[in-house]
Subunit: 146 residues, 2 copies
DNA sequence: CAATATTTTGCAACTATATTGCATTTTCCT
DNA sequence: AGGAAAATGCAATATAGTTGCAAAATATTG
């Protein structure tokens, strides 16, 4: 597990944020940095415990909110009514999310550009485009197809 | 209020569904038919009360689920972690949703085609595309701009 | 039209996610 | 090291949605 590396990167990112670099924040951000998919609060809590760290649920919520506010993480709304979070290392850009129907994980697709024909009706002020793809992720596709 | 017309249309649609045409179902569907935006369970309940009709929360949830199942309504996941529903009179097609940041309403944009460049990484099995646009709806844009 | 079977509804209790207020602890700065 | 400000933990609460079961409504059959 490259936990220590992630922790270092996390600390570096937090250095630039408006606020304190606390163990909880380092832990949470390094978990997000090490994840391949967007994580729910529960998944994060579990991973933290696995790494010998624990914190209150409320603290986690607040930490995640703060990370989003600071621009180092972002929030995805998934079908099971739970927010999922992942680290946002690069500049905020429009990227798509792939929601797996089997394992319910949410993957960020950085390279997918929604070259959409924005022929929005008059009057709407567009601020952000959110593209969600639903289906089966590579791992689940294999199990599915057999 | 064109309630009676909506109720008639609702009854016609329900006639074709697999199940009973009950007052609750007619009421809920006609509310959805009369709405310009996707409605939350709370908004539906309120509108029903305004029209002199009331039902249990659970019944509403079940009714909405059933309407979706029957293909006469569809479900949208919005930012406030509440499902929103609207009538689906036409054939199910991929359409975009506009989420207003001010009034939190969700509008269906039937005409908007997400001509997206689907260059999905290998392994992903795409089943559905969900396009959400965030910003300010016409009514709120006006208030916003002054 | 009455009896019966089936579906739908209402009630109560429950689950899960998330939030709020406040006291305590930790962190940062000098 | 000391003190101000920020972060955390705990308890309580809000909100969305679900489940089981009994009662009511609707449809079906004799």
């Amino acid at each position: 597990m490259a936990t220590e590396l992630m922790a270092q990167e996390a600390r570096a990112l937090l250095q630039q944020a408006q606020g304190r670099v606390t163990p909880t924040r380092v832990e949470v951000l390094s978990i997000l940095l090490g994840a391949k998919a967007a994580l729910s609060h529960q998944e994060i809590e579990q991973l933290a415990v696995q790494q010998g760290y624990s914190f209150d649920r409320v603290t986690l919520y607040r930490t995640l909110d703060w990370l989003v506010e600071q621009g180092v993480a972002h929030k995805v709304n998934s079908a099971d009514r739970a927010w999922r979070y992942n680290a946002q290392t690069e500049t905020p850009h429009q990227h798509a999310h792939f929601h797996c129907r089997q394992c319910e994980q949410v993957f960020c697709l950085e390279q997918l550009q929604p070259a959409l024909l924005v022929s929005l009706p008059a009057g709407y002020a567009l601020e952000q485009v959110e593209l969600n793809l639903h289906g089966y992720c590579p791992a689940c596709s294999i199990k599915h197809a057999g």
